[in-house]
Symmetry: C2
Subunit: 164 residues, 2 copies
């Protein structure tokens, strides 16, 4: 559970940080207002880049905390610049680094209580991680990358995977 | 390893099948040539929808087979219709269903040999699954969904997650 949640999410967030660094460099180089990227979305009723990054980090801090039986830290969702998003990713990775494998031991079977539309839903830790947190986490990390690719930022799969 | 690879990938492919079903229904309803969706891409140098689905299934059959020490089955990559893609997903899920948890037991430590750019790379099973197969798999599943959302197909996160 530690490897699949804490270690993997931290590594993916490191890669997301790299993607955002390259996007910001591209904005500077091409004299594009960074807000063009930060507020870009793939469809009118999909979230913009900034929100995609916020939600990806929410799933990382939420899953790790819930599986370890800790309170989920609240972040303000006040990010408006690339630097703000980088700080949020760093804060999330610091949070992930505060867990040890022992903290998540046995969490496969832990009852996780989620608030969904005002009511409580209870699900086992492993199901929560594999069927909910992981697909959601990857959805937002990938969509952040796709928004930037769609807007012409020169990125490749290697950067998405954290190389480069 | 079985839960993280075989069971999770099969469930995500079930959801991808649902996404494609809804896209095809939308094409019929709005009298849109299905090829408009199947050949759509988010950037000129990104793969079109059909290829995204092919690669997603490649990672699912590749990871499960390699971790179990079996030959990876070859698929033809000849899909041109929604029905073809549905058949490919079904074939991949049948392949996944051929594994038992015992087949993947101990595969964390198995040496996996990958051909990368003509040369061999050896990586431990767990690293291969978590750092390579999983992010790649989710990348292509999410990008398939994003291509359809960008093209106006009425989908929501619930469908991406395999509900309804």
């Amino acid at each position: 559970m530690y490897d699949v949640c804490v270690a993997a999410f931290s590594e993916r967030l490191r890669a997301l940080s790299l993607v955002l660094t390259k996007a910001e460099e591209h904005a500077v180089e091409r004299k594009i207002d960074p807000q063009v990227f930060l507020t870009a979305r793939l469809a009118p009723d999909m979230f913009a880049l900034t929100r995609q990054v916020q939600i990806a980090t929410d799933h990382a801090k939420g899953a790790s905390s819930r599986l370890a039986g800790r309170e989920v830290p609240r972040f303000e969702d006040s990010e408006v610049t690339f630097a703000d998003l980088q700080a949020r990713i760093a804060k999330t990775r610091d949070h992930l680094a505060s867990f040890t494998p022992a903290d998540l031991e046995g969490s496969e079977e832990r009852d996780i209580t989620l608030k969904i539309g005002g009511s409580d839903m209870v699900v086992k830790g492993q199901k929560y991680l594999l069927d909910m947190a992981t697909p959601n986490f990857y959805f937002h990390v990938t969509t952040a990358y796709n928004i930037l690719r769609h807007n012409g930022v020169p990125l490749g799969k290697g950067v998405f995977l954290g190389r480069g």
